[in-house]
Amino acid sequence: MLRAFALGAGFPILLILVWDRTVAITGTRLIPSPYQVAVMMYDFTFGGVYDDAFSGTILTHVWKSVQRVYGGFFLAALIGIPLGMMIGRIKVLRQMLDPTISLLRPIPVTAWLPLSMIFFGLGPNAAIFLVFLGAFYPILLNTMFGVRSIDPRLFEAASMLGCSGTGMFRQIVLPASLPAIFSGLRIAHGFAWILIVVGEMTGVPTGLVSVVMEGRTLSPTALVITGMIVIGACGFITDRIIVAISNRLLSWSPQHRE
């Protein structure tokens, strides 16, 4: 346990050391040193060092980005999970919708960017739409797959015990496909944090990506790296939360534990 932690934490420390030495030895001005980034991180979080437009604003930017990521993500889950369950279970619906889904799916989500800007204008709604699209397909497809791979015996067992109709969806289809749904949610969550970058590049004034973009043009490069680290940390922490929830809900299924 302790050894695993030491190994896991040791490698990033080594990387930072290499980064620090390389900057010092080559004397480059393109890349800031780890120390400069640390100072910038302090200023971004608490302010009091540079006292510019970004000082002490971390929570504002994180909050804006989180709202967009989870607005799109939860919307995708809210539509994708029930739709996937119904398509997986109801043959007519599958025959009707499957070709459309197969046609639309190969279009990269980033290719929707111009259209989403036309629909929603420049601003947060375009970002939410892109996140939604990116999260929607993994959730939908994994849910469909999960429902399709339920052992048909479970439906027979449930129906002989007097379960039918909507009770079947709530008591059998949903819990039986939950492992697949969670792997879809986790993939979708990763995509959501990638697509927020594309979405916020459309020129929204606040949000973590705007910090990175502004940092490139206006401020020292340290702000760019600071923004990147914060985005990475947000993605990491929220992923751990999803894993924790999934471990709790799927404790009956040891092969899905991490």
């Binding site: 015996r153 027979e156 067992a157 002989m160 015990l161 009956w252």
Partner: protein, 260 residues
């Protein structure tokens, strides 16, 4: 023929089943007629492909007969119902439910008062001896325990007919013997009509009041043995072995024919 103490619970009349296989049709069951009185323990035995599992699935309501009808106390069945409960070879327990939740599933569907659900559930957990495992999930149980849960799940649902599709086929010999013994005790205690599909002549003669030997191509009931040996039956006794030989001879005569 109708004994008032044991009225006929199950009546099967002219049931046939054809499956479409590619371009052709497979006749799985020739017309089958069968009457089972309440409380009887019936074993169906036969080679693979003789239609014994198909017949069981038709009784359960999972498959529809191509022609003919199945009636419980004279009422034709329409699909699966809680009057009949199946115990599958691969258990088919709900893996996300604990032992207790699996067993209470049927009573919960009927929305009985909570105390009644708990009382019934506790009773059947006790009956199959799983008190210490009530809060475990199926993947934490051995095969024998899983099959006990499956039996209790059906009985807790008040099923009149217990359908068992090679239920002990996947268990090791010791566990199988133990479960055969327990099943007989449960059957004697509850009086539930039991239809039990098996490959094993010994198992059939050990358990049943009546053994139906089925033959293939198309599937039909070839012979109907009454087993009048007193319980508990001693597998090494001469009477038991004579009975076993009779059933086995009937069974193998078809295998020889099928091969010729």
């Amino acid at each position: 023929m109708n004994d008032p103490a044991h009225p006929d619970i199950l009546t099967i009349r002219g049931v046939t089943k054809r499956f479409t296989v590619g371009d052709g049709e497979l006749e799985a069951l020739a017309p089958v007629d069968l009457t089972i009185p309440q409380g009887e323990f019936v074993c169906m035995i036969g080679a693979s492909g003789c239609g014994k599992s198909t017949l069981l699935r038709i009784i359960a309501g999972f498959e529809e007969p191509t022609t003919g009808d199945v009636a419980i106390y004279g009422n034709a069945i329409a699909g699966p119902g809680s009057d009949r409960g199946m115990v599958f070879q691969d258990y088919a327990l709900f893996p996300w439910m604990t032992v207790r939740e699996n067993i209470s599933f049927g009573p919960r569907q009927r929305q009985l008062p909570r105390e009644e659900i708990e009382r019934t559930t506790d009773e059947f957990i006790r009956m199959v001896g799983l008190e210490r495992f009530a809060d475990r999930y199926p993947n934490q149980l051995s095969g024998g325990m899983k099959q006990r849960v499956a039996i209790a799940r059906v009985l807790a649902n008040n099923a009149n007919i217990l359908l068992m599709d090679e239920p002990f086929g996947a268990l090791d010999a010791l566990t199988r013997e133990q479960l055969q013994h327990e099943l007989l005790q449960i059957w004697a205690r509850t009086g539930v009509t039991t239809i039990f599909v098996t490959h094993s002549v010994e198992e059939a003669v050990l358990l049943a009041d009546r053994v139906l030997v089925m033959s293939a191509g198309p599937g039909r009931i070839d012979s109907d043995f009454r087993i009048d040996l007193a319980r508990p039956r001693e597998v090494s006794s001469p009477e038991f072995n004579a009975m076993r030989r009779d059933v086995a001879r009937r069974l193998t005569s078809h295998l020889a024919l099928a091969r010729a």
